[in-house]
Symmetry: C2
Subunit: 339 residues, 2 copies
Amino acid sequence: MVQSTRITSVEVAKVAGVSQATVARSFAAPHKVSDKSRQKVLEAAQSLGYVPNAIARSLKSQTTNIIGAVVPARSEYWQHLVAEISQQLAERGSQLLLFTFAKPSEVSSVVEAVRQYRVDGVLLASAFIDHEAMVDVTSLGVPAVAFNHPEAVDISASVSVDNEAGSAELAAHLVETGHRSVAFVGGNPETGSDRLRYRGAAKELRSHGIVCPYIGAGSFDYDAGYGIAEALLQHFGGVEGLPDALMVAGDELAFGVVDGLRALGTSVPDDVSITGFDGLPQATWAGYDLTTLVQPAEELIREALGVLAGTSDERSHLTVKGFVRVGRSSRRPAVQGES
Amino acid sequence: MVQSTRITSVEVAKVAGVSQATVARSFAAPHKVSDKSRQKVLEAAQSLGYVPNAIARSLKSQTTNIIGAVVPARSEYWQHLVAEISQQLAERGSQLLLFTFAKPSEVSSVVEAVRQYRVDGVLLASAFIDHEAMVDVTSLGVPAVAFNHPEAVDISASVSVDNEAGSAELAAHLVETGHRSVAFVGGNPETGSDRLRYRGAAKELRSHGIVCPYIGAGSFDYDAGYGIAEALLQHFGGVEGLPDALMVAGDELAFGVVDGLRALGTSVPDDVSITGFDGLPQATWAGYDLTTLVQPAEELIREALGVLAGTSDERSHLTVKGFVRVGRSSRRPAVQGES
DNA sequence: GCATCATATGACTACGTAATCATCTGGGCA
DNA sequence: TGCCCAGATGATTACGTAGTCATATGATGC
């Protein structure tokens, strides 16, 4: 049943006995066509196997109905968000052109592709995208939203979770549940997320008289967390020296820290409480059951897409509040009488 | 620095003092242009901020350089594959138009979009895509590859891991390491993957005199696995009644089974060995350290893209061997003298 | 019955590029 | 010097659609 010749709106028009314009209108603006004509057109289209050509439409209408997303290839967090982005775009009838990069050096070629395809808007996982690349993207007039990168104030819109407040909330929760010493395990220190999450935690803890040291794992991935576990034990002089809690800068990183510590005989949460940040689906998996700050992915992306669609302010810099999810990776408050 | 007027190859030609055709050639086929002309063109393009329009190119050349992928929205396995697909396409200079669906009912509208955008090829996560949808996709003459769905013999090409052989290998490994009773925990029983994996396991085990019952979790996701744990214990009459090993039809499902059993006080692997299937990155996470059959994702996708690119046979039905990864979720062979 | 007007329709064109074809240029060789 | 050919270039056209404008159709009011 493969079409031998390309079926265009012209062929359909011929068969239906109307003009090409009427065929086009029957698909793009059905209300502008009489019921009778539309009926004839749809029948002809059906019998010929006609499918409107979105490429030609895009060229003529100067709008592709495609949103681009530029994200790191290997990241549980971004995979999570991409799933949400894709679903919301489908609801809006838009398409998703997905660009991934394994190394920052790949970003420039990716950006070039984004520009060539004339997408209607771009979502940028910008913690890893440098200033120059963002300027390049926006220079063609493409609306762009920097995701979790509020520093991009002068370049494009941005949508972020409130990293600092969220981290402070987590810290407050730890204090409330009886933790008196806390250390922060950072991810990639060059990202704003990392800095803000540490700052939020440190400020809140200081207000309770707790000094919170920063220990860097270098990146946000599982292996970095797993690898830092031994260094943590050394740094604190063994299990007994560990603080009451470790606040980890991201969930995936936290999974690694949890597993790394457990592999070294440390119990989580009995020897040390662990918190994460992101609210990944895996955080609810019983093996981790991570106390974490849940980013409201659905809301974040709705706002981001709103900016791209022009329904929100194009220069807005939005911050969305997350909420604390309490799991068993952090201790419950000690009950009076227990030790 | 936003362009007020759209810059086209015509403007560049004017500034460079050449024809539009030469500008087009300078980008699409540089070797067909003299160094001098190309130089002038590139300078002019640079100064004007010209970016070739891929939409117009696609319309004229009847090839979009875009590959579509239709996958379920929430699946660790597919997220894993999408990352790989995206990376390989980037290497080939192609783009990825990603379509996800949460429910099978969404597939038809997704397929319509695939057809409209005239993608050069489609990858289908076909275990969840019905026959009609696949016919629709291919009816426009778009090359399609069904992924892990060898039943689609008469419709399109397919690329699959050897489910049956892989499952048999896992079973053989269990027998070798001293397991004498094994049950199979299935996912979605309507998928070929599920059936073939059970068949491979059952056959191999039978050849060793072991009868392998099938217990269905209903789907391949974590929650299904977590939920089936209690039913498993009931079915076998408690921890003591459990078989030596549970072969689980997919990794994500296996994570759930592991966590569910552990939550009920069952030790993995001391009380029961668990194996998975897929070889997800999380299978190597120390919390699970799953014995599983690793699908060679890189190879699978290279083959699939090869079919789409026409470098492989378009009607080929390829099967790729996986390999067993041994983790601590299954017991090591009992040493002589130990119990 | 005629004028008026809203709606439906058709002819035409442009979106920006790449392929085709014809023309031109310059170097090699007799 | 003159001829020939390969490579470079330009003019032209088509890809399939949607918007613009003008015309046709039918319903309404007097």
